[in-house]
Assembly symmetry: C2
Homo-oligomer: 477 residues x 2
């Protein structure tokens, strides 16, 4: 048991230092590793398996809405990046430049894509000619590079994995519909798959994407009360179409510009799962993204029949992702290890359990330990996993509600932001000056104007001028 304790002691308690707790969990659960490439990470098997489950389920949801996957080059020639003014200003300062190919310098330098609006525009300009070619609803799964100064595994790194959807439509209405549709796909995915409740809303002009006419976002609250922007969906109007000359011939034979959108989610979602659900024993994974959903730990595994029974149970549970841990480690060590990795259910089976036709089952999310019958095991496990998935979402929602405040005057607003980690709902006049002042005074930023608007007061919480919208504010990752 000394070893088991050592493993647990190695994690900093989250109450003591949340950032260090996060780093410890990422390391001890073997999700990532540092590399010789500054600011970039290795996503190790335990981390990548979570990403694969995220990708597969999100991709299936995309395809149900008619999305088609493609792959575009990772390089963007400088002249292409520069075609849309706001876009190049937003991204040029943080890209990596390729200046040499083979043994010779390039005639035109190229950046490694920080995002691919410009390449998709180039592609659509080549392939869209008639209204019959619309809509174009494409997506790619790839990595992108942004030359960040400070980095943290999953949350901010110089290279990260993501998906980026890019669409082109005949009308402004259709583009707006697609923008909102994908935000809803993201929100449903976070809630139903990651068990993370989100606020859906619109970003301020200050916080919107470089080149967009409107950016929509889903915002989640982490365990430490900080916000995490978890997915964004942008409506570009016809700005990019004009810059890249993407025109089509309409049904009545007129030349029209297309209307475009883009939307993305990243490996950052893994960071969200860690920070929403994790505890002081490590990772806690929602069953739908758990690479192992049930770990079977044999007790007194050298006794005749124990291992056989363990593998027999695994065979009965083919509908789930099940692993038997028959390694030489002690049961206590195994318990700690699988808790660290966030496996939703642990099933313990020993000689006496076998005799009684029972097993002990332990839930990772709340530590609940029960004895279950080995009859009907598949149904029992299925129900338990469903219940865990549901209760993890409820718990996260309750945590968020308990950490969402309202403020009607600036003194109260600043006091809450400084003293109570969480979201603050407050009215806003719509001026960037107030966002700048709030950031200056508190480091908090405007997160989003929620789709579900309420009227808390008549005036802006910051300047006292007439309010235009309810805004969620918070300190953010």
């Amino acid at each position: 048991m000394a070893d088991d304790k050592k493993q647990l002691e190695a994690i900093t308690p989250m109450e003591e230092d949340f950032a260090q707790w996060y780093t410890d969990v990422v390391k001890k659960a073997e999700l990532t590793d540092y590399t010789s490439v500054k600011g970039c990470m290795v996503i190790r098997p335990a981390g990548y398996a979570i990403w694969e489950l995220i990708r597969n389920q999100l991709d299936a949801a995309f395809k149900e809405t008619g999305v088609q996957n493609v792959y575009l080059p990772m390089f963007i020639p400088e002249s292409l990046l520069q075609k849309e003014k706001d876009h190049v200003e937003g991204f040029a300062p943080e890209v990596a430049w390729v200046t040499q190919g083979g043994l010779e310098p390039l005639q035109e330098k190229m950046c490694v894509r920080p995002t691919s609006e410009t390449l998709f525009c180039d592609y659509y300009a080549n392939t869209v000619h008639s209204y019959r070619d619309l809509p174009q609803v494409c997506n790619q799964w790839c990595s992108v590079v942004r030359w960040e100064k400070t980095t943290r595994p999953f949350l901010r790194s110089r290279e990260f994995l993501w998906q980026e959807g890019h669409t082109a439509h005949a009308t402004a209405e259709e583009a707006q519909e697609r923008t909102e549709q994908m935000l809803n796909v993201y929100a449903d995915f976070c809630e139903n798959v990651l068990a993370i409740p989100v606020i859906k809303g619109r970003k301020s002009e200050k916080e919107k994407f470089a080149g967009a006419i409107a950016t929509y976002t889903i915002e989640a609250l982490m365990h430490d009360g900080k916000a995490l922007q978890s997915g964004t969906s942008h409506n570009f109007g016809d700005g990019f179409a004009k810059a890249f000359n993407i025109q089509y011939t309409s049904k009545d034979n007129k030349l029209e510009y297309v209307h475009q959108t883009s939307w993305g989610m990243t490996t950052r979602l893994i960071g969200a799962v860690i920070m929403v659900h994790g505890d002081n024993s490590g990772l806690v994974l929602p069953p739908k993204v758990a690479p192992t959903q049930v770990v079977i730990v044999p007790i007194q595994q050298k006794k005749e029949g124990v291992l056989d029974k363990a593998f027999e149970l695994k065979d009965q549970l083919k509908a789930f992702r099940v692993k038997v841990d028959d390694s030489e480690k002690s049961p206590g060590w195994k318990f700690a290890e699988h808790e660290m990795r966030g496996v939703p259910l642990r099933l313990e089976i020993g000689p006496r359990d076998i005799e009684a036709g029972k097993a002990v089952i332990v839930r990772r999310d709340n530590g609940e330990k029960t004895e279950i019958s080995l009859d009907n095991l598949e149904a029992t496990i299925g129900e338990m996993l469903d219940r865990i998935q549901k209760e993890m979402l409820e718990r996260a929602r309750a945590h968020r509600e308990a950490h969402t405040y309202t403020a009607t005057n600036y003194e109260e607003f600043v006091k809450i932001i400084n003293e109570k980690p969480g979201f603050v709902k407050a009215m806003w006049c719509g001026d960037q000056a107030c966002e700048d002042k709030v950031k200056e005074d508190t480091t908090a930023t405007s997160r989003c104007m929620p789709f579900e608007q309420e009227s808390i007061s008549e005036t802006c919480v910051c300047c006292g001028k007439p309010a235009k919208a309810l805004m969620y504010w918070g300190k953010a990752y």
Copy 2:
């Protein structure tokens, strides 16, 4: 029908100009598009859907052998690339260099990975300590960059998609076993999924991978009689382990170097599918990698009940990838379009068919047209797809056998290579001088020493010295 003809006429017949036929098919089947980035391509929805089917099935085969997926950075610092001497010499002349990050020049330039041996070595050096950490059997799906001068879609491009497996083992025997195991996985995949028969064998010293002690390959024969290297598997021995200092403590407490392998397959496989199975009407896809396996074309679709019936049949065929083409185009146009895209089966259904409880079904691979009963449709379609998959492999195998020759003297050898496109089997002394001479005289290269060796004669076909091995020779992509 004028339009249909136009579409068909746009393809150059393969007998006339095979290279142009290939380019035409890639374009007309909408697999790729050119981009503003020289030497890089867009993989369009119809092309990427094939890649997804390849990836998913190959990935499942990997996982059955215990492979775990990971993701490593796309950049390699210059000093890391230089650690293994042969490796850096092999790759440095053809990499793209990043020299600037954000607004500042980098202190050390980095290349975009042409392959990731060096990064995996760096990772294993960090994480492998004890025999308990072995074996490491990792793989990643990503894109790589090689600064090629001449490029062709799928066959050779500056950026391409691939998987690269990298393993570390306690013993040399285990590394050799894994090298051969993965070559067998590749060969089975080509035959069973892509319907492409391959020769398994070993590369000569000249043709082996930079840094490997042995490279194994699978070689396929294209329709024009040229060879295509379709997958490779390398045994590195402990060379990289020594260069990167990857050591582990063995069971008897000694410090030992690991033994490593790597193996890869690329989007080039799509090129192989095109060039092995395609014909003068376009692409011909094996059912297992066909994004649409059955296209239902309604005849007189405006007549009452026809479209309803078409969608009803689609519902009955949920076990397959089925599409109803209810667009406004003429049936003839639709036939040509789906032939171009290689859809394995076309099901035609019109008012008279419905009345008779029948449909017309046309095989893409051989043009065979039959009337089938609508009773038991799922079973009929399932059998037909299985038969197509099987017969496509048989046809490709027969083509290869018919284009495989043997030569026992140099005059005969050169004559065959110059006059008869295909593989030539001939004995080889093992000296690179003979490979160089053959290449000089004929442009053909040594493809592989097949695992199934035969003795055709006692002497090298080139120099007449005693023969060491049977070699497959051919002109290659």
